[in-house]
Amino acid sequence: MNIQQGFLQRNKAVVIFALIALTMPFWFPLLGGYSGLDTKIMIFCIFVVGFDLLLGYTGYLSFGHAAFFGIAAYTTGLMLKDFSAQIIPAIMVAVLVSTLVAVIIGLLTLKRTGIYFSILTLAFAEMFHSMAMAMLQEWTGGENGLTGMPTPMLAGIKMQGDAVFYLVTLVAIIMFYIAKRIERSPVGLMMRAIKCNQQRLEYTGINARKYKLLTFVISAMYAGLAGALMVVYEPFVGHEFLGWHQSGEIVIMSVIGGVGTLVGPMLGAGFMLYFENVLSVDLGEQWLLVLGFIFMAVVIFMPGGFMEALSRLYKRIKQE
């Protein structure tokens, strides 16, 4: 009983997230969200939570996380198409492939400062994008994208509609819990130390590069998992999955929500997808322009994003 209570106490954020996420099909349509968008939001929650471990905790800004998302999506698509319609092996292989790619890219891009890192991750993602468009066209379908996958199956259940939503939400809750555990672990402490003062950390005799690579690979695994689930959600892979727009979207979500909080980026993901798919009806083509302005305003005036806004609000209410 005591242990149980302790578990709930320690994981209040996870429990609240689970409650909000699992009840989403009931309240989300009231806000004008179509069914299916909630699944997409959950997928991007997985993506941004992993991304936040990298950006928010080590302070390394990657502009190429679409690479892992896209590579995993293509792998899942090909596995479903050519191996079996079962999603478990497909997702496992996809995450494995994106992890391997992340190790190689991480070794190359983490050689120098954070500026190099941002530029080079962007460049390598663009490399995979142009490879998918040209060299690997036979497999990826190039401009048209990868289509013709069978309906994904989990054991005997067809992965459609609600089934996908609950699967994805369950995965999201687990991944959020794992991220929370990483945050509290010694590795999480190392991550924050890297952001704070990497040089000082290295002077104490700790191999900072090892932890940077570890964090980078973990975040790529999250991205890969999200990419794989994206194909389960909608059996199609477009080359846009690998493009810089995708990488930029993740950056925008994380920053608008508030980096370094894990919860913030998920808020950001929800906000951005809601904005893109529901509010954009009134804005038409210019939704991205408006979002760009919001993003800039957040970076300039409120670097802590929504989470900073919430905590400021909370403080003010408490004072009165």
Binding site: L55, G59, L61, F63, L108, K111, R112, T113, G114, I115, Y116, S118, I119, L120, L122, A123, F124, E126, M127, S130, M131, M133, A134, M135, W244, G248, V251, V255, E285, Q286, L288, L289, L291, G292, F293, F295, M296, V299, I300, P303
Partner: protein
């Protein structure tokens, strides 16, 4: 596969030089701004975008001469405004924030231009004196038979050479250039010596923007005029800066031509030519992590 005839070799050399000139022009502004201000400007591609759209509009309305004068001037002023209005508040903030805010600005500019001019490619009419072809075999007697090359692309190469020379002359033979070069080395020290670097940095930002303006006027007809061009050119230009060495001007020139040549000489194989610049980047990073001409101690 690989054609070793002298004609084909010469043509690929020219194409490489022409592709390299655009990269050099954009990377020059990037590396100038990075070297002095320490800011990675993700909006530099967007500045190029502003330049080509301005060039097209002014060219259609008032002729090419006016575009040639007005576009770099407007871009210079825009650069100054951008530095004063936005970038200067980010000098003391983490590099990440600088990248984020310029990235946001890039999106805003790109979407604004898309809104005004539409998402499709706009034709850029080359002035009559720049149209046509150059008969290369008349200039270079070692070529066999009949070899021609578009005149405009040669003009672009010449403009690039002139611009690069002008920037080098400015930096090496003027007092202003001396201060800027000192600032690239150690801006803190310069401030201690009582030099007002802020105003000069503002001008450097304008200068980088002005070079993007020149690139836009002459590069627009070659690179197309559509909202995606800015970002498409930004990635190779970044790599040019990384390969050449962050903050190194001669490195940027060398790497720009190298990348242009590499793309041109691998054009026979679409697979190779799409990844060649990344291959070169990887090799350079492994062998010389600082870049070809990168100075020790710059942003480490």
């Amino acid at each position: 596969m690989f054609d070793l005839s002298i004609n084909a070799f010469f043509m690929q050399l020219l194409t490489g030089l022409q592709m390299g000139s655009i990269y050099v022009l954009i990377a020059l502004g990037l590396t100038l701004i990075f070297g002095t201000l320490g800011v990675v400007n993700f909006a530099h591609g967007a500045l190029y975008l502003v330049a080509i759209y301005l060039a097209v509009s002014i060219n259609d309305a008032m002729g090419f001469g006016m575009a040639l004068v007005l576009v770099p001037t407007i871009l210079f002023i825009l650069g100054l405004a951008m530095e004063r209005g936005l970038i200067q508040f980010f000098y003391n903030r983490p590099h990440t924030d600088q990248i984020l805010v310029t990235f946001g600005l890039a999106i805003v500019i790109q979407e604004l231009l898309k809104w005004v001019f539409g998402a499709n490619n706009i034709p850029f009419a080359i002035p009559s004196w720049g149209n046509g072809i150059i008969l290369m075999h008349e200039w270079f007697p070692f070529l066999e038979g009949f070899v021609v090359y578009p005149k405009w692309r040669m003009i672009l190469v010449v403009v690039s050479i002139v611009t690069v020379s002008a920037v080098f002359a400015l930096l090496h033979w003027t007092t202003f250039g001396l201060v800027i070069r000192a600032g690239m080395r150690d801006s803190e020290m310069l401030q201690f010596l009582g030099v007002n670097i802020n105003r000069r940095f503002m001008i450097v930002f304008g200068l980088g923007s002005l070079i993007a303006g020149i690139a836009g006027v002459f590069g627009g007809p070659v690179t197309q005029v559509s909202p995606e061009v800015g970002m498409h050119l930004l990635v190779p230009s970044f790599l040019v800066v990384v390969i050449g060495g962050m903050g190194s001007l001669s490195g940027a020139v060398l790497a720009g031509i190298l990348i242009g040549m590499a793309q041109s000489f691998t054009a026979y194989d679409i697979n190779l030519s799409t990844i060649i610049i990344y291959l070169i980047t990887v090799i350079v990073l492994l062998v010389r992590p600082r870049g070809l001409l990168g100075a020790k101690g710059v942003f480490e």
